[in-house]
Symmetry: C2
Subunit: 249 residues, 2 copies
């Protein structure tokens, strides 16, 4: 038995999300089917982050166990062959020890959120950006974001459905930058609550529009109540960009 770690890129658009569900195609099910097609083994695939419907990944990490004796290049190429009807690509595969767990061994996760801030709708980036037509003050958004960095009770930015044991998390980075017509929000933490990044972004867009001050973000945080936070930004602008592991992971 060998445990395999794989790194994945996918377009979240056609999926109900990472996790296998009865109501539509999931990334997890597509992978489990591809592994069965390749190795004739029915396995469970564990992902580092359970991305929601429409959320994309540039470098999701997952693991699974195989009885079949094979090598890393074969795992990558064979899975890509069996995934070819899906917008999922296996960027790399590595054999790892039996203690490695894609989700529980992860020491950090990074997300990118893309806002297209212009009058014209997106044509090439439809479903990959949140189109916001009103001009946004990205510097005010960044100032508001800094109120959220650090160890806090993030109940105000936590989805009702969140299954985490505690609303207390340490946010390592929340940077807002502009590149021409695009505003990028980069978030880094050991782990995130359900919808946490999208709730941050919805709130920061209120700041960018001038509806809220950066200080209002701090007030919302301190209220520890979801109804005090801003709206949830759409899924399509969100990308899981990296998962980090400690030495040996």
């Amino acid at each position: 038995m060998q445990r395999w770690k794989i790194v994945l890129e996918y377009d979240g658009g056609p999926f109900v999300g990472w996790q296998r569900q009865s109501n539509g195609p999931s990334v997890q099910a597509a992978l489990e089917d591809a592994i069965e097609g390749f190795a004739q083994e029915s396995v469970a695939v564990h992902g580092a982050g359970r991305t929601d419907a429409g959320v994309h990944a540039l470098a999701q990490v997952a693991h699974f166990d195989l009885e079949k004796e094979t090598d890393a290049d074969t795992v990558r190429d064979a899975l890509n062959f069996h995934l070819k009807t899906h917008p999922i690509a296996v960027l790399g595969a590595d054999p790892v020890g039996p203690d490695f767990h894609a989700r529980f061994s992860a020491t950090g996760r990074s997300y990118l959120y893309r806002i297209m801030n212009r009058r014209a709708p997106p044509a090439l980036d439809l479903g990959r950006v949140w189109p916001v037509m009103r001009p946004l003050d990205h510097e005010a958004m960044h100032a508001g974001a800094q109120k959220l960095v650090g160890r806090h009770d993030f109940s105000s930015f936590r989805a009702k459905e969140c299954q985490a044991d505690s609303p207390v998390k340490t946010l390592d980075r929340l940077d807002v930058t502009r590149r021409d017509q695009e505003i990028h929000v980069i978030a880094e933490a050991r782990s995130f609550l359900h919808h946490q990044v999208r709730n941050f972004v919805g709130t920061l867009v209120w700041v960018g529009e001038g509806k809220w001050t950066p200080g209002d973000v701090e007030k919302a945080l301190k209220a520890c109540d979801r109804s005090a936070g801003g709206p949830t930004a759409p899924a399509g602008g969100l990308f899981l960009t990296a998962v980090r592991y400690g030495p040996g992971g």
Copy 2:
């Protein structure tokens, strides 16, 4: 009567190309329909570059004439409203003089060609890159590209169907650079022959694979015969990125 210049972004994937054709949807027809929807006028739209099926635009330029009295923001927003079922966005609209012609007044055109050079297929960039799995030497490709810069008879890189009067063109720039797994080819000239950029790219990929030397590119150019050039790269990697005009355009 007012002549309007518009700048367009589009995903070429669902279209038979820029030009109106009987065999499927074109960007030109979608625009003419949107203008009729907005202004109740049946007009001809003239584009700067007649992009092929599957070729994208970040900043195509077009013009048309309207009897309707209106302003630039209204033209942009109304056309975007009427285009909303198509992956076409009007980035800007400007009133121009009656001598302006999107195609004939243009003094320069820029294209970007994106190659995804990795083992894994594209997931997020499907239809937006040419996936080439074999490792490419982008420095050799750049060296080969420099043999093409300047004023030459480009018959070796000209599609059979090309309607240009002469195969002689001046290529101002053909740069090949790598950004991680992507290779970008940037081409600039006053105008291009049909398939010229895609035929350059197909040829340069032969150089990148080591099948040809940079010197072989020069030999192909001097043969002035399409059969001496390399293959045509796929449409989906090509983007029209800019059209330039002289003062007053």
